[in-house]
Amino acid sequence: MNQEELNNKLLEIKDKLIDIEQKANKRIFLPCEAENTYAVNKFLFEDVPLRFVIATGIDSDDYFEILYHYSNDETGCVVTVKAFIRDREKPAIESIAPFLPGAEWIEREIHDLLGIDFKNHPNLRRLILSDDWPEGVYPLRKETKK
């Protein structure tokens, strides 16, 4: 799929997104609210389709961001879904692991480090923190001190 076809395809889900930001020639950001991310991810993975690369979790002071990175391997274009989780007290987002098993571990890791609850995740156990790590302490949150 070339760049033009991809751009046209992305217009189909424009109503679920806040914006379509083309930051560079081969870099597209799709900011959206947390409740729409499941549909957006499903569309990108199954309907476009793009290859899922990795997800990133960020603590941005007043909200959390989950970035889902997809690659269009034909052109090398990277499409990033930027999901905003506004609720800092109980951050939660729909898991994409049910239709995308490759995202299972990175979601477990983000759950460990930022304490974001991935709803409908098949197996949200601890992944990388040690067994004696205290419950409810999330090391990559801004308020956590060493």
Binding site: L129, S130, D131, D132, W133, P139, T144, K146
Partner: protein, 143 residues
């Protein structure tokens, strides 16, 4: 000198423990065993179990998960034994000193089990194979 120390110095068998290293020091340890340095000609041999070992080669910063395992490995090593800390991380936690998951430095972890443990430091990021061999020679001479 007890016969145990004499036997240890004759041919120190080493067991390699990685407690959160980036693999760079581990590669240099393997490098020591290649034909270029070939430490086996001095009787330094890598073994598969701490129960067979006279020395532990510890690489890595000492993470919280690995600290428990390292203490267990140290308990299982037949005494007397020497602990070699290979690299900047085990010697003083290096650039990871402020990390949230760091239980090290490794000498502190080992001393919780045995306050009189014989610990040798080989700093470097990673130390050269020559530095490791020199560290082992100096340690064995001091025993």
């Amino acid at each position: 000198m007890s016969w145990k120390i004499k036997a240890l110095k004759k041919s120190p068998w080493v067991f390699h423990v990685n407690v959160g290293a980036c693999n760079n020091c581990d590669i240099e340890i393997v490098n020591c065993l290649t034909p270029r340095y070939d430490v086996e000609r001095f009787g330094i041999k890598l073994v598969g179990s701490p129960r067979h070992a006279d020395a532990l080669l510890v690489t890595g910063v000492g993470t919280m998960q690995a600290a428990i395992r390292l203490r267990e490995v140290y308990r299982q090593t037949s005494k007397p034994c020497v602990v070699f800390l290979i690299g900047a991380c085990p010697c003083g936690t290096g650039i990871f000193s402020q990390g949230y998951h760091v239980a090290g430095p490794v000498d502190k972890i080992i001393r919780e089990v045995d306050p009189n443990a014989i610990i040798a430091y080989v700093p470097g990021c990673p130390p050269k194979p020559e530095a490791m061999i020199s560290g082992i020679v100096k340690t064995l001479a001091a025993l």
